[in-house]
Every structure is written in structure tokens, then in C-alpha cells.
């Protein structure tokens, strides 16, 4: 099915690519950091759409789940909490530019040299054959990950685990002066720990003759 010589997939791709480029550009040009974070969310979401076009549905959904659903939420959390002074952030712009421009330019040139048309052009990387409808990208990925790439996969997970432990160890400071409750102790509290029942002789009212005459006066 073609519209004006374009396949439907092409139209979807160019639309998503345009949105992705716009969102990516706005991430670095917008002045409000909250907007920048939200544009980054849009960029991730659109990138997931492009991955879906590549029949990589597992990666696309995980991109949304992990980056949009968790990482960016925490980003927004921090960005919204901080009172960021935009003018102070931007004041070093012109003085940093002479250094930043060559570095950025160099990075761009390097990237073009590696992922440019010369290495990843249409003649180098042919379009993959479309898979049948019952092909499961998820199952295929799992199979490769747990057989051919088992060692790198496990190594990567150990590295991540080290990072998690390091991050927690760096931020977890046991302050001596902070008071906190121990819920397990709270739950284990019995009646006997908190109240003491005192057995007492009941008070008995004894009418006194002298008092009653006092009152009658």
C-alpha cells in the first residue's frame, strides 16, 4: 500500500523521526528544566515507536518501562524538587563555548565516521527479512542472552549489582542523632509492656454523721 510513492511504514518512520529530532533538540534548547525532562520522555517514547518498526517489540516496551516509567520519573522528581536558578546555570555559556565547541564538534565527527553512511549505509546493511507473525522477539532475545551471551550478561549484572551497592553505601549514613521507630518492635508490643493493672480495694462510701450536720448548716 503506498501513498504518494511512500510505504505506510515509511510515513510512520518519518513522522516518528521528525518528532524524535524535534524532542531531542528541545531537550537542550528549552529553558525550563522540567520541560527538558518532559521532552526527553517524549524522545524516549518516540524512539520506542521506531524500535517497534524494527520488530524489536521487547526492547521498545522495555525502553518505555524502564526509561519512561522509572528513570525519568525519578529525574522529574529531582528536577521539580530543586529550585534551579536558570540564569546562574547559563552564565558560564559564553566562556565555556571556546572549549565546548571543538569538543562537541570532534564528538560529532567521530560519530559520523563510525555510524555514518560509509559503515552503515543501505548497501552495507541490508534490510532484514520480515519475520512471520508468530516470531517472538522476546523469546528469541532470551534464548540468545542465556546461551551465547551468558557470561557477558552475568558480568553486566554483577557490575550493576556493584553499582547498586555502592550507591546505597555512599548515601546510607547512619546518623546517631536521628530518632526512628523499629516497626518489628512496635508490632511485638504486648499489653503487659505498656500497662500495669493495679489491683485496689474498692472505695467504700461511709456516711459520717458529723459531715451531714455540717452540710445542713
Amino acid at each position: 500500500m503506498t501513498f504518494f510513492g511512500l510505504h505506510f511504514q515509511d510515513i510512520v518512520f518519518y513522522t516518528l523521526a521528525a518528532i524524535l529530532l524535534y524532542a531531542g533538540l528541545r531537550v537542550i534548547t528549552t529553558r525550563n528544566p522540567v520541560y527538558a525532562a518532559l521532552y526527553l520522555v517524549l524522545a524516549f517514547f518516540t524512539a520506542a515507536g521506531i524500535w517497534l518498526l524494527l520488530e524489536a517489540e521487547f526492547l521498545a516496551i522495555v525502553l518505555v518501562l524502564v526509561y519512561v516509567g522509572a528513570v525519568m520519573v525519578l529525574f522529574l522528581f529531582v528536577v521539580m524538587m530543586l529550585d534551579i536558578n536558570l540564569d546562574r546555570l547559563r552564565e558560564g555559556f559564553w566562556s565555556a563555548l571556546p572549549v565546548a565547541l571543538p569538543v562537541g564538534g570532534l564528538m560529532a565527527v567521530e560519530m559520523v565516521m563510525i555510524v555514518g553512511v560509509r559503515n552503515f549505509g543501505v548497501d552495507k546493511v541490508a534490510a532484514p527479512a520480515p519475520h512471520p507473525a508468530d516470531y517472538s522477539n522476546t523469546a528469541e532475545l532470551g534464548r540468545v542472552l542465556y546461551t551465547d551471551y551468558l557470561l557477558p550478561f552475568e558480568l553486566a549484572s554483577v557490575v550493576l549489582l556493584v553499582a547498586i551497592i555502592a550507591a546505597i553505601a555512599l548515601t546510607l549514613r547512619d546518623r546517631k542523632d536521628s530518632k526512628s521507630m523499629d516497626p518489628s518492635k512496635q508490632v511485638l508490643v504486648k499489653k503487659a509492656d505498656r500497662i500495669r493493672i493495679v489491683k485496689m480495694q474498692a472505695e467504700v462510701e461511709t456516711p459520717v454523721a458529723a459531715d451531714s450536720t455540717e452540710e445542713n448548716k
Binding site: M1, V62, V64, L65, G69, A70, V73, L74, M80, N137
Partner: protein
């Protein structure tokens, strides 16, 4: 049909597919909206009876038209934009709250082959969509430019992100048993009567999943995001009229969604509990209805959790439980008793 096909010429297959998909979407969304409307009534009635009150009984018989009256009232109320609010994001908030709540329904199967999109990674898709729903709350809270709304948004964001982990781990157990991410296949993996449903071998995960689901939808006793007694109404305190109602539509749609997911993954979906009664969509309805009743029951009976207790429950209780049980299930699958876990 014929003249339509001629009208569109070579585009007809695409147009036909789009048309059918739209009709199916309407066939899911319209009853869902009705269910949401009557869930609000059911909530007020059930909680009313639990507290020895009558609940709404003025509009229609037994108050049956109350949801319509509420809807009409909210439609005619003015949507007030706070002066210092961020206008674009303020209006985007409700949209982002409700869109994922409905989008997730695309992969929910209602019966054998009765599903809009029978995709392989259905469960992941639902997890992704429900995790996107938190943006509605955060953006609404931030764009309102109000202390209470912002506090509510922060609480909600932290809570949803925390409980998502426990919820995700609980689902990993289901994946291990079913060997599939496809919701239809997960249900069919439980065929054979009540004893084959996953809630038995995965009982701790079922409990963790359902409690996390209550926390994830910001329902009592985990409703600190609203916390009327402390922060007025949390993230939607500045909203009025239909914009306010949209947040409630999203909340109830999410309630029904997590209930139907619990029914599909742990309670055998549309499968009948005994083999001599045929499987039917009605079973699914009954299971979802029961789980929704639990939501209302919780709200009527439990006091609100303290915030640090919520965080402790999520991180220090639920996540260890799920990890231990996943390892246990994985271990058991290597033993002769593996059949118990399939």
C-alpha cells in the same frame, strides 16, 4: 460494503482494518466507561452499607442514575485555571492520566480469542503503560503551582515507583509458570480447574501483587497522594469540573484494570473453577467483581497507612518476599514437583 470498497480502491484493506479496529476499541471503551460510572456508585453504596448508611438513593431507583447525575454536574462546571499554573501542562495532566489507563486495555483478553491486540509481550506492554500513568499525577501536581498538589504528586511518584518493583517481581513468578508474556497463553496455562490456577503455587506473589495494585492505584489504605486530612486532596486539589472528573475516571479505570489482570494471571481468567461447567466471559466478570469489591472493602475498613510505613512495606517486606518466592519457584522447577508450578 461493496461500494465502500470501490470508493477507496487500493486503500480498502487498510481502511477496512482501521475501521474494524476502531469498532473494537469502541466496544471495549464504551462498556468500560459504563463500568467506571457504576463502580463509583457501587463504591458509595457498599461503603454506605458497611457504615450502616443508605448511600445515594435519590436519583433513580436505589440511586441507579446517580453516576449520570454526577457526570452531568461535572460537565457543566467550569474548569478553573489557576493564575500561576502552567497552562499547557495543567491541561496535559489529566490527559496523561487517562490515556495510559485506557491504552493498557488493548492487550487484555476477555475470552478465548476475544482480544484487540494479541501481542506476544502483552504483559510487558501493560506494565509499561501503567508505569507511564504516573506522569499524569506528577505533571498535574507540578503544573498546579500549589504546595499541596506538589506534595501529593511527590508522594504519589515515590509510592508508584516503589510498588512497581514489587508488582513487576510478582509478575515474574507468573511468567515462570506460564512460560509466556502473552496474557491469553497465561490464562490457558491455568486450564484444568481451580487447583491449576496460579494463585495456589504463587500464593505469596498473588497477595503481594494485589496489595501492590491497591498501592499503585493510590487507593485506600495507600491513598496518601490524596490524603484529605493532611494535604486537602493531593495532586488534583486545583482541578475542577471535568478535568477533576478525568482523574477519577483514570483511577477507576486503573482499579478495574489491575483487578482484571489479577483475575487473568492468578485466578484463571475466564476459566471455570470446575471442569463440568463451561468456561465463559461471565467467570471473568465474577472474579473481577469480587476483586473490585475487595478494593471497596479495604477502603471502608482500613485506616490510612503512615508514609514511612508504606515505604517500608514496599521495599523491606514485599520485594524480599517476591525475590525469595521467585528463587523458590525456580528451584522447585528443577525437582520432580515441577508439575505443581506449571
Amino acid at each position: 460494503m461493496e461500494w465502500l470498497a470501490n470508493l477507496f480502491g487500493s486503500y480498502w484493506p487498510g481502511v477496512e482494518l482501521t475501521g474494524w479496529t476502531l469498532i473494537k476499541i469502541v466496544a471495549i471503551v464504551a462498556p468500560l466507561m459504563g463500568a467506571i460510572a457504576y463502580l463509583t456508585l457501587a463504591e458509595r453504596k457498599v461503603i454506605g452499607y458497611m457504615q450502616v448508611r443508605i448511600g445515594p438513593n435519590r436519583v433513580g431507583y436505589f440511586g441507579l442514575l446517580q453516576p449520570l447525575a454526577d457526570g452531568v454536574k461535572l460537565l457543566f462546571k467550569e474548569v478553573i485555571l489557576p493564575t500561576a499554573a502552567n497552562k499547557g501542562l495543567f491541561l496535559l495532566g489529566p490527559v496523561l492520566a487517562i490515556a495510559p489507563a485506557f491504552a493498557a486495555w488493548a492487550v487484555v483478553p476477555f475470552d478465548m480469542n476475544m482480544v484487540l491486540a494479541d501481542i506476544d509481550a502483552g504483559l510487558l506492554y501493560i506494565l509499561a503503560m501503567t508505569s507511564v500513568a504516573v506522569y499524569g499525577v506528577i505533571i498535574a501536581g507540578w503544573a498546579s503551582n500549589s504546595k499541596y498538589a506538589f506534595l501529593g504528586a511527590m508522594r504519589s511518584a515515590a509510592q508508584i515507583v516503589s510498588y512497581e518493583i514489587a508488582m513487576g517481581f510478582a509478575l515474574v513468578g507468573v511468567l515462570m509458570c506460564a512460560n509466556s508474556l502473552n496474557l491469553g497463553k497465561i490464562v490457558m496455562g491455568q486450564s484444568g480447574g481451580l487447583l491449576h490456577w496460579y494463585f495456589l503455587p504463587l500464593f505469596p506473589l498473588f497477595i503481594v501483587y494485589f496489595i501492590s495494585a491497591v498501592a499503585e492505584t493510590n487507593r485506600a489504605p495507600f491513598d496518601v497522594a490524596e490524603g484529605e486530612s493532611e494535604i486537602v486532596a493531593g495532586f488534583h486539589v486545583e482541578y475542577s469540573g471535568m478535568a477533576f472528573a478525568v482523574f477519577f475516571l483514570a483511577e477507576y479505570a486503573n482499579m478495574i484494570l489491575v483487578s482484571i489482570l489479577a483475575a487473568l494471571m492468578f485466578l484463571g481468567g475466564w476459566l471455570s473453577p470446575v471442569t463440568f461447567i463451561p468456561d465463559s466471559f461471565l467467570w471473568l466478570l465474577a472474579k473481577v467483581g469480587f476483586l473490585l469489591f475487595l478494593f471497596l472493602w479495604f477502603r471502608a475498613t482500613f485506616p490510612r497507612y503512615r508514609y514511612d510505613q508504606i515505604m517500608r512495606l514496599g521495599w523491606k517486606v514485599f520485594i524480599p518476599i517476591t525475590i525469595v518466592w521467585i528463587v523458590f519457584v525456580g528451584g522447585m522447577m528443577q525437582t520432580p514437583w515441577a508439575y505443581l508450578f506449571h
